[in-house]
């Protein structure tokens, strides 16, 4: 505890008095190193997850009280390098450039220190004040690794703390470190910096001298990013100092000629070598541990012979039994019948009737399409339980490390439809909520992949609410379920294949790091589920209310009757009663609305056998809910989104038409 840090503590103390200017703690690091666990542990439950402006990459912000100071804590998206490739990396860097962190926590996976130090060295190079967190230290020890953190501190000139964030180990020490000084002690001297060797160093210095403005990162760091041809940094410099830009480019071109490999390769290589040298000197022992149980489980998951049965097992118990049966059937039934049917609806009806004298206004709140009796009821009793359970399963699988292994298994199949295995994550999420999944397509690397994935989500991936109702309708009829599933899978593959031929762009590549298999901590899974639920509810709940209002207005103006009348033609072509057109129209507001509408028709005996099957297939493929359409427009642009909608609308009916006739031709009666 030096005097200087004490003084800086005192001067910075004004932060604790002001509500708006809290010191900022940023958490940065590669994906899968436990950033969000550290974030949650520091902040507790006061968390705002929001999209970074102009993007849909999620950034979590929260506050933490450490000692007597209130801090703002920001969990940045995963980044491998300051030179950005993915949208996440670009957002993480923007945050670093613009928001001026007071303390930067660089979280690394202890057992991969060698590799991870490359980013740390870049952050040091950028003159950011960092505390290095050797997280998951227990896993490193298990693998036979010991790290001399004192020596590492000397080597890097920054503070180093060992933690096991999931169990909270080392977190107190981290808090102490944070509160001991608002700015961590840094004594990075020139000799500790990565040297890139001549002639590169010469070009770096030349560039540094040419750059005239400050960008939040050191000039050396900006110079290196320019040399690496980082598009965004080039744009930034071109905009803010156009007078120097041409000169800068000349220097960069000169540098490029001097090397036979691309400069980003040369720079990354040097940095990695520097990192490896440091890591090797601070790692005390490294013996190869025997394959542990988690290794064996991992091997079983990725070997196709055992992997596919495991996948089936996960889908059957995790999704079908847990979400489908427990959520969509038992809990939904209980909420629908016991809570809403017997308590909420009657209560709301009597209240509204007593307060509002006009029948038309009454219908806005109660009755068949009322805000309370339809909008809120659907949102709370159907969507809430199903989606909550799904997000729970998803968070659980995420924390075990299963998802990257699933991606690996599916890569070959997905390549056939122009996607990489990575797309498994939004696709699986689509079974929970297509809207959220459409947002998550951002994690895919190419635009082509994003378009294909969005198309397939919109067309062929039923969301959990819809699945629940479909299973309820078709339950007790395994052949119908089989035909439904086969049709949807065929459509998924054929349309995926065709879309991949139509959309231009580079074929996707697949590249993923497998985190070790871990047993998830219940608390962490619950926190994740809760944050997602909260987000989902805030986004979706208003749309339910809105849908009720729109239907109410539509009813008054008679627009709906017209639309229902128009829709009744295609509906009848596919062999359904005209009444089903109501379900389809509402299906546009939310797919599960439509499905629930079918359920009512089914219950009243209007739909049965073949037409029931045809209706569920058509409705599954039919235009996704209005929320998904909005997000689709936002993500893919209005042209692409409208083109997709214009394709899906007739296509859903075409498939229904074909299926109906095929069943009739083959003489199949269900």
């Amino acid at each position: 505890m030096t005097l200087i840090s004490r003084v800086s503590h005192l001067t910075k103390n004004k932060f604790s008095d002001s509500n708006y200017d809290h010191p900022k703690i940023f958490i940065v690091g590669s994906p899968n190193v436990g950033k969000s666990v550290i974030f949650n542990s520091l902040t507790g439950s006061y968390v705002i997850v929001s999209n970074y402006p102009g993007t849909t990459v999620e950034v979590s912000r929260g506050t933490a009280r450490i000692g007597d100071i209130q801090y703002e804590v920001i969990d940045t998206p995963g980044m491998y390098s300051l030179a950005s490739i993915s949208e996440e990396e670009s957002v993480a860097r923007k945050i670093l450039l613009k928001e001026n962190p007071d303390i930067l926590l660089n979280v690394v996976d202890s057992k991969n220190l060698q590799k991870m130090l490359a980013l740390t060295l870049q952050l040091i190079e950028a003159n950011l004040r960092i505390i290095l967190i050797l997280n998951m230290y227990d896993e490193a020890e298990k693998a036979g690794l010991k790290i001399d953190s004192k020596f590492l501190e000397d080597k890097l000139g920054i503070r180093v703390i060992k933690t096991v964030a999931v169990t909270g180990q080392g977190m107190d020490k981290l808090r102490e470190e944070i509160s001991s000084s608002v700015k961590p002690k840094n004594n990075v001297t020139e000799s500790l910096r990565v040297q890139y060797g001549e002639p590169l160093e010469f070009f770096v210095k030349t560039l540094e001298e040419l750059i005239s403005k400050n960008y939040g990162l050191s000039k050396r760091s900006i110079a290196l990013l320019l040399l690496q041809r980082d598009a965004e940094i080039h744009e930034l410099i071109q905009e803010s100092e156009p007078e120097n830009y041409t000169k800068l480019c000349e220097v960069i071109e000169k540098a490029e000629v001097r090397y036979s490999y691309p400069l980003n390769y040369v720079i990354a290589l040097r940095r990695r070598q520097a990192g490896a040298k440091i890591a090797n000197s601070v790692i005390i022992s490294s013996k190869l541990a025997k394959p542990s149980l988690s290794d064996k489980i991992s091997n079983a998951m990725i070997n196709p012979i055992t992997g596919f049965p495991i996948l089936f097992f996960v889908l059957y118990f995790g999704i079908y039994q847990f979400v489908g049966v427990l959520g969509a059937q038992l809990i939904v039934e209980f909420l629908e019948e016991e809570i809403f049917g017997k308590i909420v609806n009657p209560l709301a009806t009597s209240l509204v009737v007593n307060i509002i004298p006009f029948k038309i206004l009454q219908e806005l709140f109660i009755g068949d399409y009322g805000i309370i009796t339809l909008g809120i009821r659907y949102a709370v009793s159907i969507i809430l339980p199903i989606v909550t359970l799904f997000f729970f399963v998803f968070a659980f699988l995420e924390d075990t490390g299963y998802l990257p292994r699933l991606a690996l298994l599916m890569d070959r199949v997905f390549k056939k439809i122009g996607l990489s295995g990575r797309a498994v994550i939004p696709m699986t999420l689509g079974f929970g909520c297509d809207t959220m999944a459409t947002i998550v397509t951002r994690t895919l690397e190419t635009n082509k992949e994003r378009i294909i994935a969005t198309m397939l989500l919109a067309l062929a991936i039923p969301c959990s609410a819809q699945l629940g109702v479909i299973f309820a309708i078709l339950s007790g009829n395994p052949i119908a379920i089989l035909i439904w599933a086969t049709t949807i899978i065929l459509v998924f593959l054929i349309i995926g294949f065709l879309t991949s031929k139509v959309v231009t762009g580079e074929p996707p590549s697949f590249f993923i790091e497998l985190p070790p298999i871990r047993i998830p901590k219940l608390k962490n899974v619950l926190v994740k589920t809760y944050t997602r639920m909260e987000w989902y509810f805030i986004e979706v709940f208003p749309i339910f209310i809105l849908a009720s209002v729109v239907i109410w207005i539509g009813q008054i103006l008679g627009v709906f009757d017209l639309a229902v009348m128009l829709l009744s033609y295609p509906v009848q072509w596919i062999g359904l009663p005209a009444e089903a057109s109501v379900a389809f129209l509402f299906g546009f507001f939310r797919r599960d609305y439509g499905a629930a509408g079918l359920f009512d028709l089914h219950s009243s005996g209007l739909l049965s056998g073949n037409s029931m099957l045809v209706a569920t297939v058509t409705l599954t493929l039919f235009l996704p809910c209005i929320a998904q359409l909005f997000i689709n427009i936002k993500e893919r642009g209005i042209k692409t989104a409208i083109a997709m909608a214009l394709f899906i609308f007739p296509f859903a009916f075409l498939v229904g038409f074909l299926l109906n006739n095929l069943l009739n031709l083959a003489g199949i009666l269900i």
Partner: protein, 241 residues
């Protein structure tokens, strides 16, 4: 046609680079030669080039010969970097000497040994030889693509051959760099390998771009004994026999 002088080979090489790679018209001036140059005369006598009003052109046989010279030169560079680990300053000069020594037939052997590389250390394409075309039937060399390895085999990354600089950057940040030790875990449905203490999965396209210096070359024996996965199209081939 294998007894060309070093000078003539040098001319062929430059003609090929100017004519084929840069797609420019080649003149005597560009080559800095006079009509009376011995090498030039030799090539004209062998009908490998045509000289018309100061413009030089490769004949059909000349083009074949020149492609071969380029191939030998770039293979020599690869050999010197990957196996002999020659320093960069020394590379160009040594490759020139070396290439003249590699006559046809020998170059194919070197190509096999190096795992049929597609790019020279400077990132320029290496013309494909006959051996590259029926690559599948080749015995494994010392250098192999990641996609050519089998489960259990180990190797050190020799070089990365991708032109896509973003991909290259991604590979580096994931830790795939010259000198890193890799152990193959499985090859189907995707390639999964151990890299230091973590595991990485990549698809065939990326696995084709990573070249390694193999460590336990006994692997081919393991393959025969157990009949385990063979990469490429002919999986289980040996096992079924």
């Amino acid at each position: 046609m294998t007894n060309l002088s070093d000078e003539s080979e040098e001319i062929l090489e430059r003609l090929w680079i100017i004519g084929k790679e840069k797609e420019e018209i080649c003149t005597l001036k560009k080559l800095d030669l006079t009509e009376n140059d011995d090498g030039l005369k030799e090539l004209q006598n062998l009908k490998l080039i045509n000289l018309k009003v100061g413009k030089l052109e490769l004949t059909t046989t000349g083009l074949k010969e020149a492609t071969n010279v380029i191939r030998r030169h770039r293979l020599a560079e690869r050999l010197l970097t990957d196996i002999i680990d020659a320093s960069k300053d020394f590379l160009e000069e040594a490759a020139c000497k070396f290439e003249h020594g590699l006559r046809r037939g020998v170059d194919d052997n070197i190509c096999v040994l190096l795992g049929h590389p597609r790019l020279c250390p400077h990132g320029k394409p290496i013309p494909r030889g006959k051996c590259c075309l029926d690559e599948i039937h080749q015995t494994p060399g010392i250098i192999s693509k990641l996609s050519g390895m089998i489960a259990g085999q180990e190797g050190d990354v020799a070089h990365l051959q991708t032109k896509d600089s973003k991909k290259l950057q991604r590979m580096i940040s994931m830790g795939i760099l010259p000198g890193t030790r890799i152990k193959m875990i499985q090859t189907f449905p995707t390639y999964v390998f151990q890299l230091e203490l973590s595991q990485v999965a990549v698809d065939k396209e990326i696995a084709d771009e990573i070249y390694l210096r193999l460590i336990n070359s006994r692997a081919s024996k393991i393959e025969k004994k157990k009949g385990i996965w063979m990469p490429g199209r002919h999986r289980f081939r040996r096992g079924l026999r």
